[in-house]
Amino acid sequence: MSGARVSRVPLDEEKLARAALTYLAEPADPALGALLAICSPAEVLAAIKADMLPGTGPGCGDTPASRAALHRALSRWRTRLPSLPDDEEIAGARRGGIRLTCPGDAEWPCALDQLAQARPYALWLRGNADLRFACSRSVSMVGSRAATGYGGHVAGEMAADLGERGWTVVSGGAYGIDAAAHRGALAAEAVTIAVLACGVDYPYPAGHADLFAAIAAQGLVVSEWPPGRHPARMRFLVRNRVIAALGCGTVIVEAGERSGALNTARHAADLGKPLMAVPGPVTSVQSAGCHRIIREWGANCVTRAADIIELLSPLGISDALAPVGGPDRAWRPDPGADRAPSRDDLDPDSARVLDALPARGGAGTSTIAVEAGVDLDTVLRCLGRLAGHGFIERCDRGWRLRRS
């Protein structure tokens, strides 16, 4: 049998085989990755069931050493054969809003193909968003579980700002920064993706069951593990490569020296994706990892959502900074409101009110109104407008000009 073969197996059978493989093998198994590069999933599954190698090919079982490694891998996968659900059951696992996406599907994000042989065999999804579309403009945001108030605040604000500008947040499901990022994105009514290290129907940590439900309603809960699978320590590290791959770039908000977030950062750097870190107080142990990756790995120092978008946007896209507008976002600025208005842009009433303010010291509202020759309603609204735009500010005796 030749190595590079085009699969003639129908897609449904192939999807079923990939689903079965997620039950049998741990993700990122190098042996399975190598096999899938040359054989179809159905052939691999049949080989596991029959306990015989699916032929030979370049890079696969052509040396005695690698043949031995493959045999060991086969016996490893076969240990789970007795507990492998039958086809109907696997198809049934997709009940309850859970679905499966495989390489080649319309929903499969191409970004995952960068993982080469460590590419997920398939992904289980729960939620209403489209994975591929959501990942076209996405930021992975990870950090410490034991986040400080600062870290949680920054993660939430950044995620909300990114969300309002149409970017998807990708993160894990842990306490701390992960949760803060998801909550921020949810608050902005944006799509957010939680990549779990257990089945998508298994809420871990249990305290986040509600959060996962909210994410599924508005975004996606994603896992390489089949439904019902429990989390294990090593699975989190394996999972991190998917978080890094799904985002266009990775932001570390808060990470200690030995944080798992640095593992995600390593994956992002290996994939050649922009790596960013939010600085913290230099005395904070919780930000030590962030500072290290800025110093040693050359991570970009980012402090706000606009910094991230600037780094990740393709050149020439000028509206990347503009938030997406919707019917419910009526108070987002209209384009052009971003720049600071000058005195010349003011409407006549506001200009008159601004002129009526004394050059030094403050003046009361009525005094300003009389000076400007406008009524009380007008002066109140103009003062609000001028204060909002930063021309004036409040003082002991009313309002005064603001020194810029």
């Binding site: 600025p333 009525s366 909002g388």
Partner: protein
């Protein structure tokens, strides 16, 4: 069978429950037993009733009397059931016709001489009686006007036990008139006046009336000149505007400023620009005040929004209601449909301020006591006033405030975040200079002018919010505001700018939009424009942070 039944009502909060009083006279040891969870005051009824019956010239049955109050599981309190028990005993002794007493509800306390005395809470009790199908109630003369507020009830006002018994027997008294006066409910009594009630916790009552429309202005108002008016708040145009917005949208208001800037003056004038209560609201308010026993004599229906200003030493029970015996409404409920003004708000105990969170959230107060849970309505507009610092001195060149910024922050931080979250309007009042006083004379408007705008704005808001659970703009939750009622597109440029510059938080933006709706309602615009949003922003940014 020497058993008679009469009926009365036990009040739980402002809800009444019908209580059946059974009186049984049998052979046995001479005496009277009262069963059915009576409290101390009710147990004393035994001695009061015995003296009252004897002193009314009736015969006290010298046999064994058992009086049962059912439902027996409901705790019953106070002197409320005296009349029902006394009539029950007379009926059991066949001194008054048994059939006649079963048709009537009895409320009233008896004196030892047989006088019938008024009790608290007659209005909600009579309402409960009518709901339970009783068409006739008998009350003390002083309670008659209040009882007659309930439509569809026949009120028998008796001055004494003798008069009550005579009316039941149908015997005319010697001068030919009826034993007890009868009134039809739902009509105002000839001598009852619609009068406002302004009251502080000390109990001082002044009956100044707001003069808002012709119906009221024809009333005798002793001192119109002394009635507070918004125009007196000269030199504080922003504060006057904030009061108007507060009244129109029902927004809670926080006033910050040094002593003498006019915080209390402003708060006291808010009721003068609030619309009068409609009949349903007036009945609710009157019922609460009736239970609290704070209805002034001869005043039947409270149609002015109440204004409550509890002192800052008030306890939690005084503010939200409670008490060990009879559960009484607190200031928060007494201010229902009106204004609750907390002067020197940071001086209030923390648990008192935090206890306000429930009524602010739910519009009612729930007080749980042994055996009963009482619910009082408490939808009020909260007005807080605070000095910027604990020393309460005006900042000045000499001998002024020397409090450190930390001390000031600590002082203002005593009002907890969740409470401040509910407050849409924050105003800082500064001491007024002479120039500002002169300039402001052009702009000061009387309460009457402002009140007219407020009524129209409230009507617009109510019309827009029809089909929703809300009546006032302040009640609309932020999420709903974003989804269903955004302002005109592009009208938030300045607000957005302020948000980016950190002058206002995202939560502040929601409040600005809510206030902008009220400003638009006041101006008669269908949807907030850029002008309205900027005016709201101006009010929000009018506080130094």
């Amino acid at each position: 069978m020497p058993l008679a039944r009469t009926y009365s009502v036990a009040l739980i909060g402002v809800n009444g429950q019908v209580v059946e009083v059974e009186a049984d006279i049998t052979n046995g040891l001479v005496g009277m037993i009262l069963v059915g969870l009576p409290d101390t005051a009710l147990r004393e009824a035994r001695d009061r009733i015995r003296a009252a019956i004897a002193n009314s010239g009736e015969e006290w049955p010298l046999r064994k009397i058992t009086v049962g109050l059912s439902p027996a599981s409901l705790p019953k309190r106070g002197s409320w059931f005296d009349l029902a028990i006394a009539i029950g005993i007379l009926a059991a002794a066949a001194k008054v016709p048994r059939a006649a007493v079963e048709e009537v509800m009895f409320f009233g306390e008896l004196g030892l001489d047989g006088q019938l005395r008024p009790v608290r809470g007659v209005l909600p009790a009579v309402a409960a009686a009518v709901d339970a199908g009783f068409g006739t109630v008998m009350v003390a003369e002083q309670n008659a006007a209040e009882a007659a507020l309930v439509p569809g009830v026949r009120v028998i006002a008796a001055c004494s036990l003798t008069a009550a018994a005579d009316w039941l027997r149908g015997t005319p008294v010697c001068d030919g008139s009826q034993a007890a006066a009868e009134y039809e409910g739902g009509h105002e009594l000839p001598d009852s006046r619609v009068r406002g009630v302004r009251r502080s916790v000390s109990g001082a009552v002044s009956d100044s009336s707001a003069v808002l429309d012709g119906r009221i202005s024809r009333m005798a108002v002793p001192d119109v000149a002394a009635a507070p008016d918004l125009a007196e708040l000269l030199g504080q145009p922003t504060a006057r505007r904030a009061a108007e917005v507060c009244a129109a949208g029902g927004h809670h208001l926080s006033l910050l400023g040094p002593p003498g800037a006019g915080k209390t003056m402003l708060a006291e004038r808010i009721p003068t620009i609030l619309p009068r209560l409609d009949t349903a609201a007036a009945l609710e308010v009157t019922a609460i005040h009736s239970v609290a026993g704070t209805l002034p004599p001869q005043v039947s229906l409270l149609t002015d929004p109440p204004f409550l200003a509890p002192h800052h030493t008030a306890t939690k029970a005084a503010i939200v209601g409670g008490g060990s015996g009879i559960i009484l409404p607190g200031s928060a409920s007494l201010a229902h449909r009106g204004v609750l003004f907390l002067d020197e708000a940071p001086e209030f105990a923390n648990d008192v301020l935090d206890a306000l969170r429930q009524p602010l959230e739910a519009g009612e107060v729930v007080v749980a006591r042994l055996g009963v849970i009482a619910t009082f309505p408490a939808k009020f507009t909260l007005v807080l006033a605070a000095n910027p610092c604990p020393c309460a001195k005006v900042a000045g060149p000499q001998d002024g405030c020397r409090c450190s910024p930390a001390a000031r922050r600590r002082y203002q931080g005593r009002i907890s975040g969740p409470l401040l979250d509910r407050i849409d309007l924050k105003i800082e009042l500064e001491p007024v200079g002479r120039r500002e006083l002169l300039s402001d004379r052009t702009f000061a408007e009387s309460s009457r002018t402002v009140a007219l705008r407020v009524i129209q704005a409230r009507e617009r808001a109510a019309h827009r919010l029809r089909g929703t659970p809300w009546i006032l703009n302040a009640e609309i939750p932020g999420s709903e505001l974003r989804r269903t009622w955004p302002p005109m597109p592009g009208s938030l440029a300045a607000v957005e700018r302020a948000l980016e510059r950190g002058l206002i938080s995202a939560r502040g933006v929601v409040k600005v939009i809510r206030v902008a709706w009220t400003i638009a309602d006041l101006a008669g615009r269908p949807r907030p424009t850029r002008d309205d949003c900027d005016a709201a922003l101006g009010l929000w940014l009018g506080v130094r942070r």
